[in-house]
Symmetry: C2
Subunit: 206 residues, 2 copies
Amino acid sequence: MVPYPSKLLENAVAEFSKLPGIGRKTALRLCLHLLAEDTSEVEQFSKAMMEMRTNIGICSICHNLSDKTICDICSNDKRDISMVCVVESIRDIMAIENTTQYKGVYHVLGGKISPIEGIGPNDLNIHSLIERISKGGIHEVILALPATLEGDTTNYYLYRKMAQYNIQFSTIARGVAVGDELEFTDEVTLGRSILHRTPYEAGGRK
Amino acid sequence: MVPYPSKLLENAVAEFSKLPGIGRKTALRLCLHLLAEDTSEVEQFSKAMMEMRTNIGICSICHNLSDKTICDICSNDKRDISMVCVVESIRDIMAIENTTQYKGVYHVLGGKISPIEGIGPNDLNIHSLIERISKGGIHEVILALPATLEGDTTNYYLYRKMAQYNIQFSTIARGVAVGDELEFTDEVTLGRSILHRTPYEAGGRK
């Protein structure tokens, strides 16, 4: 046990250590850094955390994070609400948004079906997705879950649940990453990239 | 630029990224973790940071951290105040305290003399150390600075400044770490450990 010079420092270190990937040593380093900062800086830090936690909620349509009832993507009338991209987490939305290639809307499942981890369909935001689709107006569902056993299971479950509606299903393209060398690509990915080859367009594709 | 779903999240991520060793990706992971926690947990986290920053100050004698004017070590009457161990930082005090082998008191310099980084004697807590010594009652000063060029320079500066007082100077022992193999020890350390060998005590030393 490290003998802390003050109980207050010990508390702060304990709080930091609760965060994922932060051990006691890192927590101490961060606390000593904050102690060397102006009080106003630490106040700003604390305030930003509280404001974030108090005011950010979940979008009632797509389960994205938002400080409003309906998130900026769902409420943006320039987005195509007939196309829904199903993702595992909020971070996936941020990654796709970063590409600026997608103009549809999203649906965050909050996980994948995983019997091993005890996560069933009822633990995910699947009911609200089916409700969105049953209301009509959605023509395409893009399944953007990871290409793992759990991802595939979840894709299949969603497909079975929604097959009765007149929707086109698609998954994001899997293949050799742009700039990657063929010889260093794993065989499953390379195999898929040959099976699902795309027509050659002279002048390059976007 | 990652498009954050809320300005409040962006703020919180920016605040976390200011901490040393925390990049944007880690900051986002920590914020999403806090968002998934109960509000009371985040409140406790924020409060611990503010309480630490507001109430912890510097001991007026040794410059250790403390929530009182004089730290627990300086105010402990079981400690030998005639022996002062000079260290670079508060973390060094915690490391030495952890050994439970030292019963004297400390003095935190707050750095080392380093012309390259523009740190001179006046930037360190040297004046207050000399003041402590000039008051008398201190018989030994243990120099526990790192064995680097800057550490040696600082040691020599302190020695010159305090040579006029009747004090014994010592430095912490350098040698092969307990449990280390000789063949993997660097030659400077191994050389010192032979030069500064200690008398053999049958039954082992503490």
